[in-house]
């Protein structure tokens, strides 16, 4: 296999003058930093959590493909020094399925936003989950379409304010974790940018899991969601996550009345099921065997 030439960093990173040496620099295209996300945007926290989880596993960057769609969060592929695909809106999972089937040895990771996965790519999400293909999907859920100036998304909570819901949203939001679980995903977890240590562990488990694994990472958008919803800055939004998130194990001992406006975090579901690329290899081998024996019905 030819080694792909990595993008050489352009210019200095700013770390030289501090004297510090961050451990994650090897995973970043430092010439592209600082990233374009707004000050306080949670996507950077989730990107850091993902990189730390990946670092713990010690996987090879050249054996890993990161696929993203369109949106604020999908800019992540531009900053990560892996083999990356920046695809069309909502189709990240469709491209990722193709990559995985073409070469099942690769680690395929999809990093996409809530608009990408829940709205325009909703079908791809449920069908990737149904097939249980070995792809890890991390949903950067900031409850809004940040890149196009703050339209409400299918996961914006009822009553939330956005550019396109000037009197509050009347839509009921998706519970993406329940959706993926019902569609057949075999690892489902939820974390928040505030609980970043727990999120890193969940992402690590999701990466190791064989089958379709889904991590919903709650992010904060202080520029569009927070500003219109009485959460004035990133710190307020992170503290909101702190107050509203309840670990799923603690929730089993809590009164359902107290859990009404809470968000469950942690590992929500895990199971075993036949993996798609393995099943595909098996059926191919069966057909070849039949062809060799000469009893293949044309």
């Amino acid at each position: 296999m030819p080694t792909l030439t990595r993008q050489v960093s352009r210019g200095e990173t700013g770390w030289e003058e501090t004297g510090g040496k961050p451990g994650l620099l090897g995973y970043l295209r430092t010439g592209m930093m600082p990233h374009l996300w707004c000050p306080g945007c949670g996507h950077g926290i989730i990107m850091g959590a993902f990189l730390r989880a990946f670092d713990r596993l010690g996987w090879d960057q050249d054996e890993t493909i990161i696929v993203s769609g369109i949106g604020c969060s999908s800019r992540v592929t531009g900053y990560l020094d892996f083999d990356t695909l920046h695809t069309t809106h909502g189709r990240a999972l469709a491209f990722a399925t193709g990559v995985k089937l073409a070469n099942p040895k690769l680690n395929v990771i999809v990093l996409a936003g809530d608009g990408d996965l829940a709205a325009i790519g909703g079908n791809h999400l449920i069908h990737a989950a149904r097939r249980n293909i070995n792809i890890t999907t991390i949903c950067f859920n900031n409850n809004i379409y940040g890149m196009t100036s703050g339209q409400f998304s299918p996961v914006s909570p009822t009553g939330s304010w956005a550019t396109t819901t000037p009197y509050g949203s009347i839509d009921r939001p998706f519970d993406l974790c329940e959706l993926v679980r019902a569609a057949g995903g075999t690892y489902v977890a939820r974390g928040t940018a505030y609980h970043v240590r727990s999120l890193t562990g969940l992402i690590e488990k999701a990466l190791k899991h064989k089958g379709f694994s889904f991590v919903e990472a709650l992010s904060q958008c202080p520029t569009y969601f927070g500003r219109r919803n009485q959460l004035h800055n990133a710190v307020d939004m992170l503290l909101w996550q702190k107050e509203h998130a309840v670990n799923v194990r603690a929730a089993t001992r809590m009164d359902p009345e107290d859990l009404r406006d809470k968000i469950l975090i942690g590992e929500l579901y895990r199971s075993e099921a036949p993996e798609y690329t393995e099943e595909y290899a098996r059926i191919r081998e069966q057909v070849r065997q039949k062809a060799r024996e000469g009893d293949l019905v044309q």
Binding site: W15, T18, G20, V196
Partner: protein, 72 residues
């Protein structure tokens, strides 16, 4: 917790990359020991490194990956 206790008493090197930092204030506000303060422009400044308990939450929660704790 054990890790935090073991490191108590030692002062870490706290490095902030000024080119990457966007002055969001997360490290300043969410530090449990109030190690940081801001200058007049809103830049985070390490004021009390000796009270740091090495929880690393500032490094983990920095959205710009612009903060790094170093030391033993």
């Amino acid at each position: 917790m054990a890790q935090v206790k073991k490191k108590q008493g030692k002062v870490p090197g706290i490095f902030i990359n000024r080119r990457w930092c966007k002055r969001c204030g997360i490290c300043v506000e969410l530090c449990p020991k109030k190690v940081f303060t801001t200058d007049t422009l809103g830049n985070p400044v390490v004021k009390r490194p000796e009270s740091c308990v090495w929880c690393e939450l500032c490094e983990l929660r920095c959205p710009d990956l612009a903060l790094k704790l170093e030391g033993e």
